[in-house]
Amino acid sequence: MHEPSLLQAVVPRPAMNATTSQPAGPKPAFANAPDVTIPLRFMVVGVISLLLSVIILVAHPEVLTSYHYNQHVVAITHLLVLGFGLSVVTGAMYQLVPVVLETRLHSERLARWHFPIHLVSVAGMVWMFWIWDMKQVGHFGSGLAVGVGLFVWNLVRTLRQVRGWTVISFGIASTVFWLVAVIVAGLAVSAGKSTYELVGRPDVSPLLALPLAGLKATADFLSRFEPLAVMHAHAHLGVLGVFILLIIGVGYRLVPMFLISDIQNPRRAWASLWILNIGLAATFLTILLQHPWKPVAALVVIAGLALYGAELFAIVRARRRRSLDWGLRGFLASQALLIPVALLGLALARPGLVLTEAVGQLENTYGFLALFGVVAFAILGMLYKILPFLVWFVAYGREVGRARTPALHEMYSTPLQITGLGFWVAGLTLGVAAILLANTTLSRLTALLLLLSLLLFLVNAGRILSHLVRPRTQPFSRPNHPVLSTL
């Protein structure tokens, strides 16, 4: 069976003649290639956002140790999930979705328009969260929704070109669904925290009166729910529905691809995604309604994660490439952190749990591990796989076979990568201690460790990106195909 590769992210598969396995017609290698700067610009914004998040944590270490329902925590969380997570995920999806679905992106033009809208909206939202101007959060959030709308439209049109569903396309479609859901929920939360002085005044234009009335109705509806429950339900839609489901869905393609392996049990992979989707819907509702069945919903999610873990373990065990590079080790370590996160989630789902200082610390630990441990760590690990490849292909795609091109691992420093991952793991460990001990000194040390890790990542990212402006090819000086033999 044909397996697409990351290469097709840059050079899409040509149309094939059904009978001869030959390309349908001559086509230059780059004729259909999407512009690689589209994913790169989203990824650069993502990494800068992560850096800013950690710098703010260094300056405000109390963000980790104080209860999370305050404006600064909410602002940093959105910088992390929208500025970093959504940016990187968006860039990666524009590049990888056509690959994993074996088709072309519906519109590159829409993707180009998406970028400035996304950038301005996220920056505005984070700033307005910081000063807690929820009306402006709503306005910038509407901009974000427009950008996401372009993105979703592009992906849905791309998905429509796909014949037959795979576990990967199902994972991506699930992510798109939950992305729309979390944006709608976020806008509703913002509407619920705004005031509507103009509603009912006779001097307001009917064009403005109608949307205002709708927003006020939304706010009135949301006032029936406990505000903290609304925020937690919204957060689960985003972290589990968008990030973790996408990591799982795309991981089912990328991990086998990088390890030269295959999905070992497709039914188990399908089941993991179905159960996670059902579990997330149940989690959202039970959190929102503060329903006593919250632990049941959590157990359903854990069942989905357990199936995913079993499949991932089987994929890794069946690999034909024995060595595990550090990017993949980082990714796998991040996925192992799903275990403590899931157990904490189950413990915090206990009905009637009273919000004490200890419970608040556990909630912070849960959020910290989910965001920095699972999502950010997984993305950083995968960026070490994806970024060198994209840059390598743009810089050297035409030179392959004509001159010696650097290997992917020669484009960055592996010792720096290992040290950076070590700092990240140390930061995660210390962060948990800082939160549980409510110690701001430890919290600042945590932020410094994470910052050091990111600076090392940036040094390596700079080395990788430098190949775009200063390619390093060398003439062949010796036989260049050591495994070649003759019959």
Binding site: M1, H2, E3, P4, S5, L6, L7, Q8, V11, R13, P14, M16, T20, S21, Q22, P23, P26, K27, P28, A29, A31, M257, F258, L259, I260, R320, R321, R322, F389, W392, F393, V400, G401, R402, T405, A407, L408, F476, P479, N480, H481, V483, L484, S485, T486, L487
Partner: protein
């Protein structure tokens, strides 16, 4: 007289190494020789690139595991 064949085994290598090795091998392939490349995946993305370089390829599943692609110079 049979056509000389060169064999390249790229199984177990991560992308883009198989592509690099195959294109490097094609660049020094003697005239009249065909290249048999063993790969873990069907190298669909290589077709437009080899076509640019005056080759064509045909891929069949290997009896054990992976694929065998025969690369020939265009007449």
């Amino acid at each position: 007289m049979s056509t000389p064949v060169m064999v390249l085994d790229t199984r177990g290598l991560a992308p883009p190494e198989p592509m690099v090795l195959i294109l490097e091998a094609l660049s020094t392939l003697p005239s009249g020789t065909v290249l048999h490349a063993r790969t873990d995946r069907r190298p669909m993305h290589l077709y437009p690139m080899i076509e640019e370089r005056g080759f064509r390829g045909e891929t069949t599943p290997a009896p054990d595991q992976g694929f065998i692609t025969v690369f020939l110079r265009n007449a």
